[in-house]
């Protein structure tokens, strides 16, 4: 049993992800089933906001700014900057699928789909 555990634990999973180009993200996306929006600009910046909290667009206070990059083909990395405090919070999602109208993102605690708005 212990050996089995060690053998299993010693195996590495290969990266089988897709190759995503940054240009595929440019634009505005809405998290499916929510009022949460994400924008991706060509300069590598963006905003996310949630109209459910009364934040109606990216210029409203409460809209969270971030910088974003893609690495390893499908790793979408965000570095969030607060309204008043720094950009220490980092989140990386895995893009599992992307098309002109949809994008699927995955993180440790779940998957969700974003629909292109613009």
């Amino acid at each position: 049993m212990a050996l089995g555990v060690l053998l299993f634990a010693g195996c590495n999973r290969d990266n089988e992800g897709i190759e995503v180009s940054e240009s595929q993200l440019y634009g505005l996306w809405q998290k499916q089933g929510t009022q949460e929006y994400w924008s991706y600009r060509e300069d590598g910046t963006g905003h996310t906001w949630d109209r459910a909290d009364g934040i109606m667009n990216e210029t409203d206070s409460g809209s969270v700014a971030y910088s974003w990059t893609i690495s390893n083909g499908d790793q979408l990395r965000h570095r969030f900057s607060g309204t008043n405090i720094g950009d220490m919070v980092v989140r990386t999602y895995t893009i599992t699928a992307i098309s002109d109208s949809e994008m699927e993102r995955e993180e440790e605690i779940g998957n969700y789909k974003l629909l292109r708005v613009e």
């Binding site: 212990a2 906001w49 909290d53 009364g54 409460g62 969030f80 607060g82 405090i85 720094g86």
Partner: protein, 1002 residues
């Protein structure tokens, strides 16, 4: 004109001489009319330079008995002169009779004239513009100019004249040079007595049907016109050519007299049944000195008689005369008989009194001087009613007045009101005083005493704002001022002392209702206590009730000492020293109770301002012993036990304020600037205050200043737009303020937590509230909080915090901040002391609930010698990782150290890899979980007795996660890096705080 009369008299005398001469001649002729006529005509030619004509000259004995008379008929004096209204005839006498003493004639051969009788006399005297007259008909003496010599009866032949009678005289005098036009019609003049050797003893009776006199100015306009009808003058005179005594009586039945365009005899006077004028004038005249001593004379105009006595000198004119009314005159009736031009002031006025006058006039009457007149007037039982000025009747007027008049050039007159008493409605008025420079700019020194019901003032003041005035006023006023100070009113020049004792005061002025059982008001102009001010005003009383709009106040022992500047200015300024014993006021639903209030300073009222500070512009020291404030917004009263404030236009120095609110108490002192500008949103309210407290309910205190400076309507509108629940009342950072509170609070409660020994600076500036490294103790743990709070909208609040707790029991930490358990779910499994450091920012809704989409944060938890509570999850993990003997003997799981760092974004918390040392095992853990209870953690056994690597994944619902073997991720001897995310976030927050504190706000 005097010269004209003189010439006329000389001419008349000369004519008389001629006539007497004719009589003498007649006596030498044997009573032959023809001879007499020839003689008269011839002699007349010698004495008269103009043509004369005589009818028949005859002797008569009966008409002049016992004297012999020479009667001459149809005597004409003819002197043609261009423009003369009577043509060429200057005078005509129908019958001239001269009576001669027959005895003297026959015994002594002398002609002594006893009688001169003229009947049917007509005279047409005329003086042209050059002064030439038609009656200048007598030859002038070669030795002297008779025209300039004074006339004297001594110049006449020696006579013993006993009767002169002129009947049916019609005469006119037209003087173009001096503008005189006089006529006499139906005049009869009879003189009986003796004129002998300069001795006069005569009774002269003059009766004229119509006597008229008119003067004109240089352009021919009438300057004076007089007409007397039925004029009777009786003169009794005895004396010689130097001293004559006698009595003059004059009766004028009717007449008119106009001068200056004013008819002095009014219609009422003219139509009166009484004689227009009667005069009784005993006199003793010295013709040489031209002085007249008047006996007890009486002059009566209509029914108004004056008693006159004194001395008069004619040239130069000088008088020393006493005049008094004969009894009392009824003013109303007298006024009705004055020319209407003189009583225009009386229009709309009812005025009457019994008037008694007594006056003396003494002094010279020249071009520049007038006799000094001293007059006393007594008014009794008078009344006055003039609705436009005083809308009620004043009666029972009694006065004793004295006036001294100097009507000459530069003369100064004065008057004294010895006493004046009057009564109106329920008011008694007493007035006394003096008036200097009566006919110039009157200088009045008056004392007035009045006891009046205040309601009597309402119609006088004619102020629509004064709606009701109840109570009584006992006024004692002394004033000195010039009349010119009243128009326009110049209160700065008035000198007055007034004391007004008000009782049962009940006044409604505009929206102010004042009630006081008793108030003593003292007024002093100019101010003596408040130097430089116009007036001192003192108000003292036992109680005063005021109602003003929504304010209803009761004041005990008010003591107001005010120095006012000119109240007629647009902006009234006052220096004041106000003391109030106790006071209570209800303002809307708020109630204030004051104790021992003192206000000392100055204020300037400017009603044009909206800003309440600028309306009063106070510069005042406020000292208050105690106050209680009840506000509906507060469940408990606010109690001030001490207040000392010095308010200046540029700075408000709060020297000391001690406040108790519910269980809170605090003392406040420091400076606040720009209160005035802040109210009208033009300046920032700046303040640097020290706040010390034994106990403070922070939530309650914050609610007191929440929204300060923001328009309530605007705030309410935002609440409605944001659909803020009524029970949610977030703290709104005061607007346009720059306030720093240096706090030191022993005990406090804030957001449900008991905080002790709170110390640090709280700053509100630029819409931000900043807590700069506030230290406090909570649950025996020392904490430090740095925070920035903003409230742009009630439902969109922002908070950024840096919260540092040292050596706190984890249980208490979770109890104090339940959110910690959400952020770090596994923390609840630990026991022991830890250090906790949280840096985060988020927007909040009106209930202070985070808007999770905006939440960003980082936290670090570090502890040593912790104990882990056993549970199923841990047991499952331990089982998979093949833990053996990892618990202590007491079955507790001990952890040497814990050092966790995590970040939070929205609902997802990411825990960075950290090490757990549990006995002989070392685990590295990392992962994330969401506030939706989803987790994805990875644990990896790094060190164990078997040296085997084992990875465990924990996924799914946090309450029952799926625990399974996972991929090994870490290399041997892996040591997770210290991320330092919290420190970095803290640095960012400190930068933000620094920016906020250094921000230049307007």
């Amino acid at each position: 004109m005097k010269k004209g009369w003189k010439i006329a008299l000389i001419s008349l005398g000369s004519l008389l001489g001629v006539l007497l001469l004719a009589v003498c001649i007649a006596l030498y002729v044997v009573f032959n009319p023809r001879q007499l006529t020839k003689i008269v005509n011839r002699l007349a030619a010698d004495y008269v330079m103009c043509e004369t004509k005589f009818g028949e000259v005859d002797l008569t004995l009966f008409k002049t008995f016992p004297d012999a008379g020479l009667k001459v008929s149809d005597v004409y004096v003819i002197n043609p002169m261009e423009g003369a209204p009577g043509g060429e005839v200057v005078a005509y006498v129908g019958n001239l009779t001269v009576g001669v003493d027959v005895k003297k004639f026959f015994k002594e051969g002398t002609v002594v004239v006893h009688q001169v009788l003229l009947d049917e006399v007509t005279a047409n005297l005329y003086i042209d513009k050059d002064g030439n007259s038609n009656f200048d008909i007598f030859p002038k003496s070669e030795d002297e100019d008779t025209s300039s010599a004074p006339f004297s009866l001594d110049s006449l032949p020696e006579i013993d004249l006993r009767k002169v009678k002129i009947s049916n005289l019609d005469a006119s005098l037209l003087d173009l040079k001096d503008g005189l036009d006089a006529t006499l019609n139906g005049v009869g003049l009879e003189v009986e007595g003796r004129l002998q050797e300069g001795i006069v003893d005569a009774d002269i009776d003059f009766k004229g049907d119509v006597v008229s006199l008119q003067t004109t100015d240089s352009i021919g306009d009438t300057t004076m016109s007089a007409q007397a009808e039925n004029l009777k003058v009786a003169l009794n005179a005895k004396g010689n050519m130097e001293q004559v005594a006698g009595k003059l009586k004059l009766e004028l039945n009717e007449g008119l007299f106009m001068t200056g365009g004013i008819q002095m005899v009014s219609d009422n006077l003219y139509e009166s049944s009484s004689d227009l004028l009667t005069v009784e004038l005993p006199f003793d005249a010295n013709l040489k000195d031209m002085t007249v001593k008047l006996g007890d004379s009486r002059l009566k105009l209509d029914d108004y008689a004056l008693n006159i006595s004194g001395d008069v000198r004619l040239d130069p004119m000088w008088v020393d005369v006493a005049v008094e009314t004969d009894g009392e005159w009824q003013a109303a009736e007298l006024l009705e008989k004055l020319p209407k031009e003189f009583i225009t002031w009386k229009k709309g006025m009812d005025l009457d009194a019994k008037v008694a006058l007594r006056a003396t006039a003494k002094g010279s009457l020249t071009d520049s001087t007038m006799p000094l007149i001293s007059a006393q007037a007594q008014l009794a039982d008078g009344r006055f009613y003039m609705p436009t000025a005083v809308p009620y009747k004043v009666n029972r007027i009694n006065a004793d007045l004295v006036a001294n008049l100097d009507l000459g050039n530069g003369g100064v007159s004065d008057a004294v009101v010895k006493s004046l008493k009057a009564h109106t409605q329920g008011t008694d008025i007493k007035l006394s005083g003096s008036i200097d420079d009566l006919l110039g700019d009157m200088r009045i020194d008056a004392a007035l005493k009045a006891a009046l019901p205040l309601e009597d003032l309402v119609p006088i003041l004619n102020d629509s704002s004064l709606r009701e005035a109840g109570g009584d006023a006992d006024v004692d006023l002394k004033a000195r001022f010039r009349l010119s100070d009243l128009d326009p009113l110049d209160l700065n020049r008035l000198n007055a002392d007034a004391s007004i004792a008000l009782s049962k005061l009940d006044v409604v002025y505009d929206s102010i209702h004042a009630v006081a059982p008793k108030l003593d008001v003292a007024l002093r102009l100019p101010a003596t206590e408040h130097k430089g001010k116009m007036a001192d005003v003192k108000v003292v009383g036992p109680k005063l009730k005021l109602a003003m709009g929504n304010i209803d106040a009761r004041i005990d022992n008010p003591d107001l000492d005010i120095g006012l500047n000119d109240v007629t200015r647009e902006q009234v300024a006052a220096a004041f020293d106000v003391k109030i014993g106790d006071a209570e006021a209800n303002i809307d639903s708020m109630m204030v109770s004051l104790e021992g209030l003192k206000l000392k300073g100055s204020a300037r009222l400017d009603s044009t301002q909206q800003n309440i500070i600028r309306q009063y512009n106070p510069d005042v020291d406020i000292d208050l012993h105690g106050a209680v404030l009840y506000m509906p917004e507060l469940p408990d009263a606010v109690r001030l036990s001490q207040l000392a404030v010095a308010y200046r236009p540029d700075i408000c120095n709060i020297r000391s304020v001690e406040v108790k609110l519910a269980h809170s108490d605090f003392q406040l002192y420091g400076d606040v600037e720009n209160v005035e500008g802040w109210i009208d949103h033009k300046k920032v309210l700046r303040g640097d205050l020290n706040f010390t407290s034994g106990y403070a309910d922070v939530d309650q205190l914050l609610s007191l200043i929440s929204g300060m400076g923001t328009d309530p309507d605007t705030l309410e509108q935002m609440r409605q737009e944001d659909n803020v629940p009524a029970d949610a009342n977030p703290f709104i950072v005061p607007k346009d303020v720059d306030l720093t509170l240096h706090t030191h609070i022993k005990r406090s409660v804030a957001f449900g937590n008991d905080l002790n020994d709170v110390a640090g600076a709280v700053t509100m500036r630029g819409g931000k509230a900043v807590l700069d490294q506030i230290g406090f103790v909570c649950k025996a743990a020392t904490m430090q909080l740095t925070a920035v709070y903003e409230s742009p909208r009630p439902d969109n609040l922002f908070v950024a915090i840096d919260f540092h707790l040292l050596d706190i029991l984890i249980d208490e930490l979770i109890d104090m901040i339940p959110t910690i358990d959400t952020l770090v779910p596994m923390l609840s499994a630990f026991q022991g002391n830890a250090n906790f450091h949280l840096a985060a920012e988020t927007y909040l809704n009106a209930r202070y609930q985070p808007k999770m989409s905006t939440l960003l944060g980082a936290a670090a938890i570090a502890g040593n010698d912790l104990t882990v509570l056993d549970n199923n999850t841990i047991a499952s993990i331990a089982k998979i990782m093949q833990f053996k003997s990892w618990k202590d003997k007491d079955n507790k799981i001990r952890i040497d150290s814990l050092d966790v760092e995590l970040t939070c974004f929205r609902k997802v918390i990411e825990v960075y890899p950290f090490l757990l040392n549990i006995g002989k095992y070392q685990i590295c853990a990392s992962g994330m979980h969401s506030l939706d209870n989803q987790c994805g953690y990875h644990l990896e056994l790094l060190k164990n007795p078997l040296m085997a690597k084992v990875g465990v994944d924990i996924k799914g619902d946090l309450s029952s996660p799926k625990i399974s073997l996972g991929q090994v991720k870490y290399a041997d001897y892996y040591r997770p890096d210290k991320q330092g995310v919290v420190e970095k976030q803290t640095l960012e927050l400190k930068r933000l705080v620094k920016q906020a504190l250094e921000a230049k706000v307007r």
